[in-house]
Symmetry: C3
Subunit: 490 residues, 3 copies
């Protein structure tokens, strides 16, 4: 994985010379377009405060579970990658697979940054052929200016070079935001977040980008989450307009959504176990709510309640216009010992098979053709692409195909996605690229990879005379620029 390949102008483009020529032209149309990132996990405060980036390991290794997971698989314990221990887990907690991110204090015994960096450099060959490897290699070259290949032998040199870059005065979030040509960046936020950073950025005349909050209410909707009951109490107290019980809860959710809309939010995101939705009458919903609050609800009742709340979220989206995005199908925190030691988001969220056709039907029955309702469906189970998502998005005006996500956000997987959905749903029904990342410096690499793959897919269709070259030029501009603006109402 030498840096020379990261610099190659034809990287990711198809090998066939004729097809590559077409792909280059297509790529040329979109390479300089601004980045629109309607879903991700960057912290708005970092931009507001223009916080300097930390050291190389803390920036590029320790917090990135895509990176630590593969090194862990090779036999390196996570503590050698300086992942920190959480506060002692509550032994009475419910299934950790339902738990959200935990707040963890630093561990006294954590290795220093240079030591972690050396581990990473030793492990670098593991990343050959992976999506993370591609993004990192691209960053090393284009963001950090490394011209040497990462390796155990050169770990100290690369550490020093990156450290020096991190201390340069122009290497700050706001300058990079500009250098990266980001126009819109959505964050992901707790419903009770005061959005002060977003507000400050919007009011700052020296900052020209759009940084938008996203309403992410999972921990307030899923009674299996150990913090649910406390969250609900805080939510009602903060925004229930004096109401109580289920009615106050719904009002509080509506109020907080409105607050997000007022602060620029365009979407509400839902990280659910399954895409199941359920319509209930008000009395049944309230009864489940009360049973969940009192701790009497069975597992099935908790699931029914969450499924009903997805229905309610759709209803609220129809009313307040927030685009609804669903990210289901991951078994979170698969390895309990690792969760107990290192918390959530430590690399052992494992996908499983999902169904959309039945699961999402209750929402589509009532809201599938509702005016201006946008519902973006994501999957880590590729089998639903051709079987369910393309047919759904090819009929319901509300349904959009979420871009390949998480493990599928990679060159071959993105090509499989386009191949699976295009013949049924065409190019107009997909969401545009979603980088879904908290790794700010990787954003250009991710969008660049996506643009190269769109160009590759379209170039093949042109070479096979399935679409004309002129139309392919229009389509790639629409995929990169038009679709995210349209689907996310930007």
């Amino acid at each position: 994985m030498s840096q020379s390949i990261a610099a190659h102008p034809d990287r990711l483009l198809p090998a066939d010379p004729g097809t590559r020529r077409i792909a280059r032209e297509l790529l040329g149309r979109v390479q300089d377009l601004p980045i629109i990132s309607p879903h991700g996990h960057v912290d708005a405060a970092v931009l507001e405060q223009n916080t300097p980036f930390p050291d190389p390991a803390a920036l590029l290794v320790s917090p990135d579970h895509y990176v630590t997971r593969l090194i862990h698989a090779s036999g390196v314990p996570l503590d050698r990658l300086r992942l920190q221990a959480p506060a002692p887990a509550d032994p009475s907690a419910a299934d950790p697979s339902q738990a959200g991110p935990s707040q963890a204090g630093p561990s006294a015994a954590a290795p220093d940054s240079r030591t972690v960096w050396r581990e990473f450099c030793q492990a670098w060959p593991l990343f050959e052929g992976t999506a993370s490897g591609y993004w990192l290699r691209d960053q090393f070259r284009s963001v950090f200016g490394l011209d040497q290949e990462i390796s155990g032998a050169t770990a100290d040199a690369s550490y020093d070079a990156i450290s020096a870059r991190l201390q340069e005065p122009d290497f700050r979030p706001r300058q990079l935001f500009k250098d990266f040509n980001i126009e819109v960046l959505a964050t992901t936020d707790d419903p009770l977040d005061d959005l002060s950073s977003h507000k400050a950025l919007a009011e700052d005349v020296t900052f020209h980008g759009r940084v938008l909050p996203t309403f992410r209410p999972d921990a307030y909707l899923n009674p299996a989450n150990p913090a649910w009951s406390a969250n609900v109490e805080r939510l009602i107290a903060a925004a229930g307009d004096g109401g109580s019980g289920f009615a106050g809860y719904l009002i509080a959710l509506e109020n907080r959504r409105r607050y997000f809309v007022e602060h620029g939010a365009v979407s509400a995101d839902h990280g659910v176990r399954t895409p199941r939705t359920l319509k209930l009458d008000a009395a049944d919903a309230e009864r489940l709510f009360n049973r969940a609050r009192s701790g009497e609800a069975t597992a099935a009742e908790r699931e029914d309640f969450e499924a009903h709340m997805m229905y309610q979220m759709a209803r609220m989206s129809v009313e307040d216009g927030l685009v609804m995005t669903i990210h289901p199908g991951s078994f979170r925190n698969h390895h309990t010992d690792t969760f107990n030691q290192y918390g959530a988001d430590t690399g052992h969220d494992i996908p499983f098979a999902i169904d959309y056709t039945e699961s999402i039907r209750p929402v589509l029955q009532d809201f599938g053709t509702a005016r201006d309702f946008h519902l973006v469906l994501f999957t880590m189970d590729e089998t639903v692409y051709s079987r369910e998502l393309a047919p759904l998005a090819g009929f319901y005006p509300s349904v959009y195909l979420g871009a390949p996500w998480w493990f599928l956000d990679a060159p071959d997987a993105m090509l499989r996605f386009r191949s699976a959905v295009t013949e049924t749903a065409g190019f107009s029904r997909s969401s545009g690229f979603i980088d879904d990342t908290r790794a700010f410096c990787s954003i250009p690499a991710r969008h660049d990879a996506s643009r190269r793959i769109e160009a590759s897919f379209l170039a093949r269709l042109v070479a096979e005379h399935r679409i004309s070259e002129d139309r392919a030029h229009d389509i790639i501009v629409d995929l990169v620029d038009g679709s995210p603006r349209r689907v996310f109402k930007l």
Copy 2:
């Protein structure tokens, strides 16, 4: 999607120049072979009466739910595409997902043909990269002689050009049947159809094609269909040889199948929700029949009964020689409001995951090696190709791989099919292409696309020295011509 690409002799062929050269040669072997269409939905009466085709919108837009669905997804209500409202739905009707096509009268407020055509032309870019787009573009060029690209700006011109073509004296079903080089065309028919059109065509010495009926008994086998009980009553009265109850029902089905055989039918087709089959002893089957007839059957009992009737259909196929084809896995009429307003087949049939290994086993246990039994299994769930269908068809002499169907009847999907099944089942176990269409004018385009994809797949295997070029030539002729004759006993 300019018409120039529709005319390109290498359309759909692989981009690599060496592979394309091989593909061209392969295509040359089959390009002029007659069309054999053993499963489709053209109306035999149209051929019998040589009915002139209607106006452009009524021919190419309104009745084609592949076309209207994608325009609907873009935000155009179906009524602007002149789909007509059905008679008021019976509010006591069972789940519409079980209902068959409804009979609808024309709506007074429907737009005129030219207005619908303009909607379509405006929406034309949506079809780039889709199967429907490919077929339409091909028709526009080769059937209607358009040399200009479809667009909103040229909608009136294309409307007028197509209208003029439709009024030409040679533009009639019988002449096109000849021009299209169709040798065999199977229709899909109600078990109580008198098949008078088929009979008339067979007896007409001026008509040289074969137009064969297909026995399609879904509405007589599935008690969840609202019309089931009435259908059963009519069936027994018409063909039960004076018998009654379950015995009369079985006799009537056997009699009607024999009637179809006598009128040239070669297959019986089954559009079931799942491919489940079930063997029951006579007493249990009769008991379920009686409970279903009296309306007492539970949902599970209705499903058991339908699964048992699939077993009975296999048994009858063994006895009377009709090829049994199964098309499962679609959730019909997913959006109830649209069904209530516009009826069935309006673009919201959505596939879901199916299993064949367990489901079809009761039939295969008893009939899997029965002499001359042919069972053609279709799927819209691609996961069963390599996992279940190829292994089944690679052992049971009765089982054939149905060609890619419905949403999967498209270039990339057809290539995935061949790639998924060939290494296990070879080329001898597939059904040959099935166009499954009611759009008569699209038949040549569909068969042409299939032939190009077979040539493309085989050309890659030749280029990779997996098969010799000579053998590939034999194989493509067999796939296009030999397989459908052999599998459908033509």
Copy 3:
């Protein structure tokens, strides 16, 4: 399928000339490396005794259910392929889908070898494009020196040529073992096998290969197997250290595993219906064991017991170091009549959908990060590649991706595997190629095909500038040589 293509140096390599050039270089790096075969079904006694190979049909046709199945599908009854009838099946036997291989005596009416060979030669075109066809064609050329294409017309000539070759003095297992450049060959063995052949080979100074036993306890772990109870009794009697009941059973299993380790075994293999595992406390496990032994266990209890025994096998692997391999997801003996007539392994084992994320979790919870535990997961359901296996193997140090197996052990399927898993798990987490065969003479062809496909996949990544050519050279050597040594602790 002429022999000329079998001899082509570029067979299976990609068509694009630039990519092919890269692939040739990559292939050159591994083409002469020794064969390491850590999982297969060759009989050690054949090597120990250096048994001459039988006639052409008995060597290449009758015992190979990959070959007979496709000929059977074409309408040739299995008895014409000289498959022998088993001893009369026990009418009281449980579901044949749970039964292991049956011991069958020769049928008096079986056709002679030349007649079977003629059937095969007539049927040869069926194998175009299949994995079996590729392996056979390669053998015919490189092992048997045929330069003419197999065909019905030349059946006697090819029969005579192969027969002559089989009688040559150097055409014996030990010489071929050397000629094939096999370094390690693992067999698959019954837990009570005395491993005398393995011992004799290990002590024979004239034999230089490693022939290792593999512990395969299915018939001792699954109470649904008709022979389970008798097997358990024999097992406890032979190795229970005088213990009885569940405790004696566990001790006996541990003792026999140790015996295998002492005789060179590196792995224990598990052919289970599903990959389900279950942790139970000792009392519950013993209770299920006793109920199964007394014949009182329900189907669910039998399944629970087997799932728990998979957990126990993992525990024992952690303790004794045997690599644990799991081969799930096949519905064995799908056609009961064929099973009754011809026994198991007669071509009607049909895959079905499986899940790993939930099923394997109990084992991974307790042993997923255990030191030196190696768990190799195989699948015939391709959907788990990107969805479950790559994510699991990309986190758990114990989990390795089993190479494409059974129906998926074929060029296109192997390419799909690499494409599906690499972007998530890289190249370091896969098992290396597994030939899984009892067809000794096919071993070089199978490994050669695998090496060509690894070269093809890597060449595409190089051509698309995803990895550098230098690194690809390192990777292919590691895939072919390093991975199997490392994963199987050789």
